[in-house]
Symmetry: C2
Subunit: 151 residues, 2 copies
């Protein structure tokens, strides 16, 4: 049940880099695929397929198909913050995991190793190897917690 056959590790931080990675995996660079990538680079965080589509005037179906392909080849992934559509991000270099506040709707990206101690704790207590890449860690952020406590 392991995922796609991603042989070579990928790392890119700009469009040319992503195009190169994409080429190495035998994917073509069509106009809409390029536009999806551009929109993902332009975004400052996870975005929905619908946002990508309307930002670049693309067909929603085509955006979904491109995201699926990019995801299958490991250039993109998606995260859930709650109900509502999944949000897509470039994998690029360095995975991000998210702390999502369902009071103010803010998502804070954290570097993967910042959560390693948390994973280690869960692993040692339960034997379970937790991953927070697909579901954000939902809760109340520091600001909202403070606001709530001063009320």
């Amino acid at each position: 049940m392991t995922s796609a056959p991603n042989v070579q590790p990928l790392s890119f931080e700009d469009l040319p880099g992503a195009v190169k990675a994409l080429r190495e995996r035998g994917m073509r660079l069509s106009t809409s695929r390029r536009l999806v990538l551009e929109a993902l680079f332009a975004a400052n965080g996870p975005v929905s397929a619908e946002q990508l589509a309307e930002q670049r005037g693309l067909e929603l179906t085509s955006v979904y198909r491109n995201l699926e392909t990019l995801e299958r080849h490991g250039l993109v992934r998606h995260v859930h913050f709650g109900h509502g559509p999944g949000l897509y991000v470039l994998v690029g270099h360095g995975e991000h995991e998210y702390l999502f506040c369902d009071r103010c709707g803010t998502a804070r990206a954290v570097e993967p190793d910042e959560l390693d101690p948390v994973r280690a704790q869960i692993k040692s207590r339960f034997g379970h190897e937790a991953r927070f890449a697909h579901f954000a860690i939902v809760g109340t952020c520091a600001e909202c917690a403070r606001a709530r406590d001063n009320s």
Copy 2:
């Protein structure tokens, strides 16, 4: 953005208890509502609306409506383990949170306080108050990790 106005704390562990809690909240006990509750008690873990419907020969719509009502009044909640439908559980007495293994599909329920240290760690590192009630902690269980490592 705080949820429902649940004045009195509720605690029940059998059907009569749930019916009492339900009555206290002014809800009626219709046939399908009782059947939904029975099915939830019979289930040994989170179940989908569809499972509940077919197990008791209920109209799916009615199951969803009852679950929504029960959830709004705090007797039921739902959890997501990945893609696919949300799964419903009785709130009863003692919340459970889940460690879900996406290799073997097993969900392990853990008592709320078992995750308190994890929550504390996240709180102290990020100021974020994490809740794992809505999204399970997804990853690889001990058995699957062992199997993977011995390969």
